[in-house]
Structures are given as structure tokens and as C-alpha cells.
């Protein structure tokens, strides 16, 4: 069973982020894939689950750590036509956060809707 995409039918790519920023590199390097991937004109979505929602938290000041603050990069996604950012409602609530605490506009979705979105994807990139 082979799916033909030579004609240019865009595949649904989902980037799954479940890890907090800075403790590990996965958030930063995942974002780098999103930016490069944007040029390929696929149907891109980003999902933030669990601690992944912390990647989007406002007010990140990394001067004391002497590491690069990569949260501003989320603001650039719009310029790359990457606009489908889904954030797990339960994850926000468990962490005392709301969409207003995040650096970019996102769609907050419940478990059922997130499951729907995830199971509809063709390619899932987890980091």
C-alpha cells in the first residue's frame, strides 16, 4: 500500500512537544526542524502537551543561564505560514496557566480534540 505524493499533495506533519525548555535541547531543536520544514509547504501543526506547554510561557529571561532564549522564535512561525499551534487544555490547567500566559496565539484544545488532531496526521515528529 503506497501513497502517491509526487503530485504534491501536502502531507499532514505534526510536531509533538512534550518537554520543558532549557532542561533539555528538544524544544529548541524541534523548533529548528519546524522552521526548515516550513519551506516544504506541507500541512504543518504543532502540538504542545504536558511540560511542552512551558516552551510557550511568556517572560523567559535566560541571561542568568547564558543560554539563548528561543521563545521569541515562536513569534516568527506566523511568517513561515505555520499557524496551527494546539495546546493541551489539561496541561495548561495542571500548571496553573492559561492561553494569556503564552507568547503566541494558540488554539487550546481538550483531550478529545487533541486526540482527533493527532490521529489524523500522516507524519508525527516527536523529540
Amino acid at each position: 500500500m503506497s501513497e502517491e505524493h509526487a503530485g504534491g499533495t501536502a502531507k499532514k506533519f505534526l510536531y509533538v512537544n512534550r518537554k520543558a525548555p532549557y532542561g533539555t535541547i528538544y524544544g529548541l531543536e524541534s523548533l529548528e526542524v519546524v522552521l526548515i520544514g516550513a519551506a516544504f509547504e506541507q500541512d504543518v501543526s504543532l502540538a504542545f502537551l504536558g511540560d511542552g506547554v512551558y516552551q510557550l510561557a511568556k517572560g523567559q529571561d535566560t541571561k542568568g543561564l547564558e543560554v539563548k532564549n528561543f521563545s521569541p522564535t515562536f513569534g516568527a512561525l506566523e511568517d513561515y505560514d505555520v499557524t496551527k499551534l494546539y495546546v493541551e487544555e489539561e496541561a495548561l490547567q495542571a500548571r496553573g496557566l492559561s492561553a494569556a500566559d503564552l507568547v503566541v496565539p494558540v488554539e487550546v484544545v481538550d483531550t478529545r480534540r487533541m486526540a482527533e488532531i493527532m490521529e489524523d496526521q500522516d507524519v508525527i515528529l516527536s523529540f
Binding site: 500500500m1 506533519f13 531543536e29 529548528e32 526548515i36 520544514g37 507524519v123 523529540f127
Partner: protein
Amino acid sequence: MKFSILVNEGPYTHQASDTAYQFVKAALAKGHEIYRVFFYHDGVNNGTRLTVPPQDDRNIVKRWSELAAQHKLDLVLCIAAAQRRGLMDKSEAKRNGKDADNIAPGFRISGLGQLIEAGIQADRLVVFGA
């Protein structure tokens, strides 16, 4: 089917590279095609020529090189991740003024676009990580 594989972790510390290798071997045995194996994050460390693992255990890097040679696999180390972690081929070393290169046979260094392309061209992309 055509498979693309993403390996996110380096040799030995996590099981990801082992599991990916066994999966690729099984897929080939069943007559499937491996479009590309892409190594990202610490996964680029699977491509170093300089490992000398203990003799009584598997040689992860050599295994990948041998499998690649046997089946003409495309093993790609992400250039951004490789640069961060010090994996160089001859031309990268020259370009960046480094005094050595350390890439193992069968691996090549290339951009993240190769990962996206691998996802587009294959029927299935499978991620191995930690």
C-alpha cells in the same frame, strides 16, 4: 512499503539506536525499502568513526556502517546537530577550520530538509528516541 527512520539519541546511552537498527533490519528482511535513516539531536553521535566499544558487546557505529554498505542505506547526520556536537566530515572540517574530521563510513552530513523530505517520500516515518 518505504520507511524513513528518525534516530534522536546517540549510541549506548539510550536504546533508541539499537531499536532503530533492529527495526531497519527486520523491515529489510521483509522486503521493505528504507528511504533514509536521519540522525538528529545526540543521534548524530551514531556517526562517529572514533568509538572503540568493548569487544564483548555490539559495535553500534560499525553495525550501522555495515548495514548501510550491505543495503545501500542513506544514513544522514543533521548538519546543525552535528556542528553543535562536533561531528565533521572532511569538507565540513575544512569549511569550519577544524583540524580533524570524524565521520564513520556510510554516513553523510546534510540539512534538516532531508528529514522533511524523508517524511514526504516515505509511506511511514518511525521515530526512535528517549
